[in-house]
C-alpha cells in the first residue's frame, strides 16, 4: 500500500512539474513594457498547487526543479536568466511554505500566493541589484513588489479555482484545507 | 499582536512618504527654444516665475541681434550696406565691446565675418570650400573699420561685410539673465543656453559642470564652481569634412579659413558671460601659446581649459583648481 502511495505521489508530482514547465515556456517574459521581470508568472500555479496538494516540502522541490529543467530545455543554464528565475522560484516556494505553516488557518491560498509573488520579485531584484549596485534601481522596488503581490493574488485565485474543481472529482483527505 | 503589525506597517509607510518628500528636488526645470538654440532653465521652485522674464529677455535679444530675424538691427545693418540704421544704446554697447575685443586680440576676434561664414555654408548647411579668389574678394568685408558708429544719433552703419554676433550673444544673454536673478534674489539657478552655462547660487553649494569631450561621447573633464559662466567653443559644433579634413565654423580672420591653431576645444570660465563667450572663440583662434599669454596678460581673473589636437589639456589662470577628480 505504501509503495502504491509513493508511486502515486511521484506521478502527481511529475505531472505538476510538467505543467509548471509548460506554463513557463509558454508565458511571455514580460507584461507590457513597464519593466523587465514584471509578468504574471503562471508557472507558479504549479508550485502553489503542489503546496496545497501535498502540504510540505514538495512545493520547494517543484520550485527548485522547475527552473532547472526549463533552463536545460531552453539551453541557458548558468546564465543570468537562469539565476534570476531560479532565485525567484525557490525563495518564493520556501517562503510560501513558511507562511502557510505559520499562518495556519489565518491565511488563505490567496494570501500565501501574494507572499510568493512578492518574494519572487524581491529575490530577482536582489540579484539584479547585486550585479549592478545601482541605487537608482531602488526606485523601482515598490513597483516590482506591488506587481509581485498582484500577480500572486491572481495566481492564488487561479490555483484556488483549480483546486476547487479538482475537489469535485476527488474525495481525498490528502487535500489540505485552504 | 497582529494589530501591532498593521500599525507599524502604516507607520513605516508614513515614514517612507516623509523621507521621499524631503528628498524630492525643490528645483524645477523649464525648457525652450531661444536664439536658435535649446534653453534649459533650472531654478528653485519658489522662483519659478522668473522664467517668464527670462523668456522676454531672450526674445528681445533675438529681436535686436539675430542675423535672420528681418526686423533685427543686425539684419537691417547687414542688408542695407552703406546706410545708417537706427539702433539703441544697448546695441552700441555690445558692438563697442566686440570692437574692443577685436583690438586687444590683434584681430583674432572678429564680429564682421558674416559674409565669410555664409560663403563656407555654415549658416544654411550648404557647405563648400571657397576658392582663393573668392576669399580674397571677401577680405575687404572683414575689416573692422567697415563698422561706423554714431553715438549721439544712436546709429550704426556697415560699409562692407556682415555682422555676426554669434561669438558673444549667448554670453551676453547670460549676463542679462544674471542681473535678473540678482534682482529677484533667486536662491539657486542653472541656465544652459545651447551649451553656454550660467550658474547662480547663494554661495553655499557648488555647481558641478561637465565639459564635453571633443571627440568621444562623454565628458573630458568636470569642474566645480560656486557661480559664474562657462563657455565652450569646439571644432565639433558646426563642421563638415572633405577628403579627411575637418572644416569647422571658427574662422581664423587672417586666413578666412577654419582656424588651424592646434586647438580643438576651448572652455572659458568667467564671471562675465559676454566676455567668456568672446574669449572662447578668441583663444581658439590664437592657439595655446599665444592664447595663454593673451589671457594671462589681459584677463588674469578668467580661467580657461584648452584641449589641443592630441587631447592634452592646458589649464590657464588656475583652471586646474576647479577640476573634480
Amino acid at each position: 500500500m505504501p509503495s502504491q502511495n509513493r508511486v502515486r505521489k511521484l506521478t502527481i508530482l511529475s505531472l505538476i512539474l510538467a505543467s509548471g514547465i509548460a506554463l513557463n515556456l509558454v508565458e511571455p517574459p514580460f507584461l507590457f513594457f513597464l519593466a523587465p521581470g514584471i509578468k504574471i508568472g503562471f508557472s507558479n500555479i504549479a508550485t502553489l498547487f503542489a503546496l496545497y496538494y501535498f502540504g510540505g516540502i514538495e512545493a520547494v522541490l517543484i520550485g527548485a526543479l522547475r527552473p532547472i529543467i526549463v533552463s536545460l530545455i531552453k539551453g541557458n543554464v548558468f546564465t543570468l536568466e537562469f539565476i534570476l528565475s531560479f532565485s525567484g522560484s525557490i525563495s518564493a516556494s520556501i517562503l510560501m511554505l513558511i507562511f502557510k505553516k505559520v499562518g495556519g488557518k489565518k491565511i488563505s491560498i490567496k494570501g500565501v500566493s501574494i507572499i510568493g509573488g512578492i518574494t519572487h520579485n524581491f529575490a530577482q531584484f536582489v540579484m539584479i541589484y547585486i550585479m549592478t549596485l545601482n541605487k537608482l534601481l531602488l526606485l523601482y522596488l515598490p513597483l516590482l513588489l506591488f506587481f509581485g503581490g498582484v500577480s500572486g493574488f491572481i495566481i492564488g485565485l487561479i490555483t484556488q479555482f483549480l483546486i476547487n474543481r479538482l475537489k469535485k472529482f476527488e474525495n481525498e483527505e490528502k487535500l489540505t484545507s485552504w | 499582536m497582529w494589530r501591532r503589525f498593521k500599525y507599524s506597517g502604516i507607520g513605516l509607510f508614513i515614514i517612507i512618504i516623509i523621507f521621499f518628500s524631503s528628498c524630492s528636488p525643490k528645483m524645477i526645470t523649464k525648457k525652450g527654444l531661444y536664439l536658435g538654440t535649446f534653453l534649459t532653465f533650472t531654478v528653485d521652485s519658489s522662483h519659478s516665475y522668473v522664467y517668464n522674464e527670462v523668456s522676454e529677455i531672450l526674445n528681445k535679444i533675438d529681436e535686436k541681434f539675430s542675423r535672420f530675424n528681418k526686423d533685427s538691427f543686425v539684419y537691417k545693418i547687414n542688408n542695407k550696406k552703406g546706410e545708417w540704421v537706427k539702433v539703441d544704446e544697448e546695441f552700441i554697447d555690445v558692438l563697442k565691446f566686440s570692437i574692443h575685443m577685436n583690438e586687444i586680440s590683434d584681430g583674432a576676434f572678429n564680429p564682421i565675418l558674416g559674409e565669410v561664414e555664409k560663403e563656407w555654408g555654415f549658416y544654411d548647411g550648404n557647405y563648400k570650400i571657397p576658392s582663393g579668389e573668392e576669399l580674397k574678394e571677401l577680405r575687404k568685408g572683414t575689416d573692422i573699420k567697415n563698422i561706423l558708429i554714431d553715438k549721439e544719433e544712436k546709429r550704426v552703419k556697415v560699409v562692407a561685410g556682415e555682422l555676426d554676433f554669434g561669438g558673444l550673444v549667448k554670453g551676453y544673454a547670460l549676463d542679462l539673465i544674471k542681473n535678473l536673478l540678482e534682482k529677484e534674489k533667486v536662491k539657486r539657478c542653472v541656465v544652459n543656453l545651447g551649451g553656454n552655462i550660467l550658474v547662480f547660487g547663494d554661495g553655499k553649494e557648488e555647481f558641478k559642470i561637465g565639459i564635453r569631450h571633443p571627440r568621444e561621447a562623454g565628458l573630458i573633464v568636470k569642474i566645480k564652481i560656486l557661480s559664474g559662466t562657462v563657455s565652450t567653443s569646439g571644432d565639433y559644433e558646426n563642421y563638415f569634412a572633405r577628403d579627411g579634413v575637418r572644416y569647422h565654423h571658427i574662422i581664423d580672420p587672417t586666413t578666412l579659413k577654419s582656424a588651424r591653431s592646434g586647438v580643438i576645444e576651448v572652455t572659458v570660465i568667467s564671471d562675465d558671460g559676454m566676455l567668456g563667450d568672446a574669449l572662447s572663440t578668441t583663444l581658439f583662434v590664437l592657439g595655446i601659446e599665444k592664447g595663454e599669454r593673451f589671457l594671462i596678460k589681459n584677463y588674469p581673473q578668467v580661467k580657461a581649459i584648452i584641449v589641443d589636437k592630441n587631447l592634452n589639456k592646458h589649464f590657464i589662470n588656475g583652471a586646474m583648481d576647479l577640476i573634480v577628480p
Binding site: P36, I107, I114, F146, G149 | F5, F13, N196, A217, T267
Partner: protein, 115 residues
C-alpha cells in the same frame, strides 16, 4: 478572506502608493549608463548618437536621441530589450539578459554640461 490576507492586501496597497509617490518624484536623467561584462560606461543624454557595445552573444546598438535612450538593435532572439522602447527618467532601465547588456538612466549630480 482571512486575517493575514487582509494584512497582505494592505501591504500591496502601501506598495502601490509608494510607487506612485516615487514615480511622481522622478527626475529626467542626464546620463545613460551601459553595463557589459567589460565594465560600465557613461554617456550624456543630450546628444544624438548610436553606441555599439560588445555583449556576450554579439554587438548591441544603443541609440541616444532627444534626451532618451533605447536598444536600437540587439543580437538576442526574443528582442525583449528592443521592445522596452525609450527610457529617459532616472532609474528607468532596459536589460538584454542573453547578451548581458544592461542600460539605465542616471543623474550624475552634474548641474550642466558645457559644449
Amino acid at each position: 478572506m482571512k486575517l493575514y490576507d487582509k494584512i497582505l492586501l494592505i501591504v500591496i496597497i502601501i506598495l502601490l502608493l509608494t510607487s506612485v509617490v516615487l514615480f511622481l518624484n522622478k527626475r529626467e536623467g542626464d546620463f545613460l549608463f551601459i553595463k557589459t561584462d567589460l565594465g560600465i560606461k557613461k554617456y550624456p543624454l543630450n546628444q544624438e548618437v548610436i553606441i555599439t557595445v560588445k555583449g556576450r552573444i554579439g554587438d548591441a546598438e544603443i541609440e541616444i536621441k532627444d534626451g532618451k535612450a533605447r536598444f536600437l538593435h540587439s543580437p538576442c532572439k526574443k528582442k525583449i530589450c528592443e521592445k522596452r522602447g525609450w527610457i529617459s527618467k532616472e532609474g528607468e532601465y532596459a536589460i538584454c539578459i542573453p547578451n548581458g547588456v544592461f542600460i539605465w538612466i542616471g543623474g550624475d549630480d552634474l548641474d550642466a554640461i558645457s559644449e
